[in-house]
């Protein structure tokens, strides 16, 4: 009998021309890390036990009252042996995942660059802007412990940050985003098609597109639409454009641009989408970007943003704390602050009307059929593809 809920082997990932070459041991290393991630999601369940059985009672005995804040909880649990070993193993696993991915892509940096150039040269659908500044919030941190983040170029024309991301996200999520890592884009496309069957957007904008994995299902579903995907990281865009072309998607133009100040005209898009983008921005930029979304959206246009689950009032201190663990220890720091902003307030502050606000839950659509979608797995906070989607129709 096979053990249940095994992560898919890495070679199930969809191959395309830009996917880095891997040898036997590199794939085995990814397989080990996917299993380790999955295992630690189970170990994580011990944190709640340790909290309820040891940490809380000890705090109460000492202070004569309950733990009153996430900060107090953090202080108290940080002394707990189970929390310590889970935390250090999880941190170590994430560092190993980066090391494993970078050891694959950096050894073939030039070959990957050349492959991308082969696809990209002379194409009007890739528009890089050497004057585009990487926003401060991206320079301040290497999100999810990715050394050099999305923008650093180790060689001229580098695409390795994207190749590392593409090959490794399958490991971090244990394949839960599907073979093309596009479960988010697929889910939102299906929702839009189902909810607005007559919606026929002519112009679609994807902001913070990264390696373009989530914009492709949208572009594919609306083949007659002009799709523009923007990001500030040139390595991501080079890779995204080459990847899209190899996968046969030709209606996306990838442009290097800051979402806070785009070059587009007022009211020029029918749909503006972002996927797991805002939690990697900053406290001021998030408003500037949403104001820009409002400016660019046509009246009657749709905007949707896939994000991490919201904190709710009935959420326990422990759940808030454990949901924030990745934000601080997997270096996605703005995510811990974004919880303080209600999406409805963000959208209203940017010009949208309260009555036009919408919020839905979404789950990744996964094309893998080997037990990766089972519901009886513990939720791996910060990893599970269970999201909050907020947005509005502009009126």
């Amino acid at each position: 009998m096979a053990a249940k809920n095994l992560p898919p082997v890495w070679n199930k990932i969809a191959k395309h021309a830009m996917m880095p070459e891997t040898n036997h041991d590199e794939r085995a290393r990814y397989n080990f890390l996917a299993s380790l991630n999955k295992h630690l999601a189970h170990v994580s369940q011990g944190n709640k036990m340790a909290y309820e059985k040891r940490v809380e009672p000890a705090f109460k005995a000492k202070n004569g009252r309950d733990i009153a804040s996430v900060e107090e909880l953090q202080e108290a649990i940080s002394k707990d042996a189970h929390y310590q070993i889970w935390s250090s193993l999880r941190r170590s696993t994430m560092e190993m995942r980066q090391q494993a991915g970078r050891s694959i892509v950096l050894r073939q940096a030039e070959e990957l660059r050349d492959k991308a150039e082969e696809f990209n040269k002379g194409k009007s659908t890739l528009v890089l802007d050497p004057n585009c500044k990487v926003p401060e919030y991206l320079l301040a941190v290497d999100n999810h412990l990715m050394p050099g983040s999305y923008h650093t170029e180790l060689i001229e024309g580098d695409v390795t940050p994207a190749a590392n991301y593409d090959s490794g996200i399958f490991v971090t999520t244990a394949g839960l985003l599907g073979r093309y890592n596009d479960g988010g884009g697929k889910a939102i496309t299906s929702w839009v098609k189902k909810t607005y069957p007559d919606f026929a957007p002519k112009r679609i904008l994807d902001i913070g597109c990264g390696m373009g994995h989530n914009v492709l299902p949208i572009a594919k579903a609306f083949p007659n639409a002009e799709v523009i995907a923007i990001d500030t990281g040139a390595p991501m865009l080079r890779y995204a454009h080459a990847r899209a072309l190899d996968l046969g998607i030709t209606n996306v133009t990838f442009m290097q641009m800051d979402a806070a100040k785009t070059i587009f005209e007022n009211e020029s898009f029918d749909w503006i989408q972002s996927t797991m983008f805002f939690h990697e921005t900053g406290g001021k930029s998030i408003y500037t970007i949403m104001e820009e979304v409002y400016r660019l959206l046509k009246p009657g246009g749709l905007t949707l943003h896939i994000e991490q689950p919201q904190y709710t009032e009935d959420m326990s201190l422990f759940e808030k704390f454990i949901r924030d663990w990745d934000a601080l220890n997997n270096s996605e720091p703005y995510w811990s602050k974004m919880h303080d902003i209600e999406p409805i307030d963000l959208m209203q502050a940017s010009g949208f009307r309260k009555e036009d606000f919408m919020q839905i839950g979404a789950k990744a659509e996964n094309d893998l059929d080997d037990g990766t979608q089972k519901a009886d797995e513990p939720e791996d906070h910060g990893r599970s593809p269970i999201w909050n989607v907020f947005g509005a129709i502009k009126n």
Partner: protein, 117 residues
């Protein structure tokens, strides 16, 4: 040419969090987990070799799984390997016991001793 080996192991921005009172625990844990990973990689490679041997009709997996030493010499060689391997892995425990048995001076003290020799 970039130094791909060094760069692959680069640190990301921000002070690294440590979760144990003594950072040494975490340091050792990280090294241990990296080795655990490499052992898993090696195990997968062995699995590949076994399957290829079977597919080419050279050796079956069943033969491998059912294999037991066929002579006293083989038995000894295998058990010796285990013994040496465990001793190598648990070296520090043995050395701490030796120190417990024969409390030692620090090397600095020995240096001072030798200085007088």
């Amino acid at each position: 040419m970039i130094d791909h080996i060094k760069l692959a192991s680069s640190k990301s921005k921000g002070k690294r969090p440590y979760f144990h009172e003594d950072p040494a625990v975490e340091r050792v844990l990280n090294i241990t987990m990296a080795i655990a990973g490499e052992l898993a990689v090696m195990r997968e490679r062995m699995d590949t070799i076994e399957r290829l041997l079977e597919k080419k009709g050279l050796v079956s997996q069943e033969e491998i799984d059912n294999y037991v030493p066929e002579s006293k010499e083989e038995e000894t060689q295998r058990q010796e390997w285990h013994s040496e391997y465990i001793s190598r892995v648990l070296r520090i425990v043995q050395q701490e016991m030796e120190e417990l048995e024969n409390p030692d001076k620090s090397i600095a003290d020995i240096a001072n001793d030798i200085d007088k020799m």
